[in-house]
């Protein structure tokens, strides 16, 4: 694993599986009386947010605090950025304060990559413009794996290093019946990502990560909301959502990012919603086991109908809970070891 997490493409299949397996173990922490581990004591994580965020910032903060790291929150509002301080100068300030990791969200694509060249610590991309949001893709993969690959487990260490066999049968499976075996990827799962791919960093990271993990990804969107270079992405493209639904195991709805739209990408919100919105009638076309995901925040009534968002197929609330565990796994693997970790298997 590299020192920074800038793009989902930085992760090999082994890296991604290591993160998901680590997150799976850390997920147990939520059921414990003390939801904290001493692992990152004395390390400092800076949340550097140049763009509004609730979920991601709180999630990173909770993840770092549960690992006992010190957290410094920086938001561009109310800081020297208002006086014209550049990203580089801000970065050097943080560096001087001894940040071991910087979590950055920035409206400019590539900001995280630039920052990685300026600071000594690890840089975690928490969303840069319309480029990438790798931890969102990781938590989505984690959620998909838990929901769809959870199958029956062999024993307390099912699938881990060949342990099993003669271990006595008592007390097995007492916890987390849903947790998948270690090293389970998403091979053969069909994931359809729907909507505003053009402005979505979530879509790009998900396409890269899910295909690394073996899933077959299809983008379903109006031609105006697909990036030009989409033909080079490791996924299929369709303009017709209805024909994709019956063969999808996962439908991931993207938010229509009106704040990034500076042109007319579709005639009206109503027309978009009718062609590409997920309502109850469309949901009924999905296979019985299929799940509906949304990275949030939702535009209820635009890309997803309220009754779909609140249905039992929707994983939207789970995704938030899984976000904390997945980010804990990433922070641990990047910061938990030696100064310059080399986690490769």
């Amino acid at each position: 694993m590299k020192r920074h997490l800038i793009s989902a493409a930085d992760l090999s299949r082994a890296d991604a599986l290591l993160i998901l397996d680590t997150a799976e173990e850390l997920a147990q922490l939520a059921d414990r009386p003390i939801k904290k581990l001493p692992t990152l004591r004395g390390r400092t994580v800076v949340n550097l947010f140049y763009e509004d965020s609730t979920r991601t910032r709180i999630s990173f903060e909770a993840a770092a605090k549960r690992l006992s790291a010190d957290v410094i929150n920086f938001s561009a509002k109310g800081s020297s950025v208002g006086k014209g301080e550049s990203l580089k100068d801000t970065a050097l300030t943080l560096e001087a304060m001894g940040a071991d990791a910087v979590v950055i969200r920035h409206p400019a694509s590539g900001a995280a990559h630039r920052l990685a060249g300026w600071v000594k610590g690890s840089v975690l991309n928490a969303g840069d413009g319309t480029h990438e949001h790798p931890t969102q893709a990781l938590l989505d993969a984690f959620t998909i794996r838990r929901r769809l690959m959870g199958g029956p487990r062999r024993g307390p260490q099912g699938g881990r290093g060949g342990l099993g066999g003669t271990v006595s049968p008592q007390n097995r499976g007492g916890l987390g019946g849903a947790s998948p075996r270690a090293n389970t990827a998403l091979d053969g799962l069909r994931v359809t990502i729907v909507g505003d791919v053009l402005h979505s960093r979530v879509a790009r990271s998900n396409v890269l990560l899910l295909s690394t993990l073996g899933a077959e990804v299809t983008l379903a969107a109006p031609p105006t909301l697909l990036p030009l270079a989409v033909s080079s992405w490791p996924c299929a493209v369709s303009y017709d959502l209805d024909s994709e639904l019956p063969k999808s195991d996962v439908v991931m709805m993207l938010r229509v990012q009106q704040e990034r739209m500076n042109a007319a990408y579709f005639p009206s919100v109503r027309e978009y919603s009718r062609r590409y919105g997920l309502d109850a009638a469309r949901m009924a076309r999905l296979p019985d086991h299929a799940i509906v995901m949304h990275p949030g925040p939702m535009n209820r009534g635009v890309e997803i109908a309220a009754e779909v968002a609140d249905s039992s197929r929707s994983t939207i609330v789970e995704q938030v809970a899984n976000g904390v565990t997945t980010r804990m796994a990433v922070l641990y693997l990047l910061l938990g070891g030696t100064e310059f970790p080399a986690v490769t298997q």
């Binding site: 001493p38 260490q157 008592q170 007492g174 938990g336 970790p341």
Partner: protein
């Protein structure tokens, strides 16, 4: 792995315990646990991954066989509590799996393969502290090789093995390694 079923001197060094001796040591420890805890009352066995876990399950099987009492068994991963995390690249986590009744008020017997510096056991005590409040904590190990760096001792020992710090002790278990043996060898490079 080296030989099919009988451990041999070679890459892994010299065999100090074979499968039969390991079986007898575990049988004795199981009896001692029963004796010391008044018939295994309110006892939980927690193995420390990787090789402590199959040892804990083997002990539970023996206890069930001798006294017909079911002793709950689980695993306790100590990775996140280790004091040497920063000396190595971040490592994959083992599994922590507690019996559903939890550890509060129970006598917890920690089970590990080799007791050496005592640092793993210290980490286990810390990890346990976050999971609840056991009435008592005891320690069972298959091999005690000495050279403690912390004031920690085992309550149940399979074999006391005087070693030099330059030697490497490896416990092989059928569940993990395909055979049962305890090997002692010379240090290879820096390990």
């Amino acid at each position: 792995m080296c030989a099919a079923n009988s451990p041999v001197a070679g890459r892994d060094g010299l065999a100090v315990l074979d499968a039969e001796e390991i079986r007898r040591a575990l049988t004795r420890i199981a009896h001692e646990i029963l004796e010391r805890t008044h018939g295994g009352d309110e006892v939980i066995l927690l193995g420390i991954p990787t090789r402590g876990v199959p040892l804990a399950y083997r002990l539970a099987d023996r206890i069930a066989e001798f006294e017909k009492v079911v002793v709950p068994c689980g695993s306790l991963d100590v990775t996140m509590h280790r004091d040497d995390l920063r000396l190595h690249p971040a490592r994959a986590l083992g599994r922590t799996e507690l019996p559903p009744e939890g550890v509060d008020g129970k006598t917890v017997v920690l089970v590990d393969d080799v007791l050496y510096s005592g640092r793993t056991v210290r980490a286990a005590l810390d990890a346990l502290n976050d999971l609840g409040r056991p009435r008592a904590v005891q320690l069972a190990v298959l091999v005690d090789r000495g050279h403690r760096e912390l004031p920690i001792r085992a309550d149940y020992v399979g074999k006391n093995l005087p070693t030099s710090q330059r030697e490497v002790v490896r416990v092989l278990l059928a569940e993990v390694d395909g055979q049962d043996a305890v090997m002692i060898g010379e240090e290879e490079g820096q390990s």
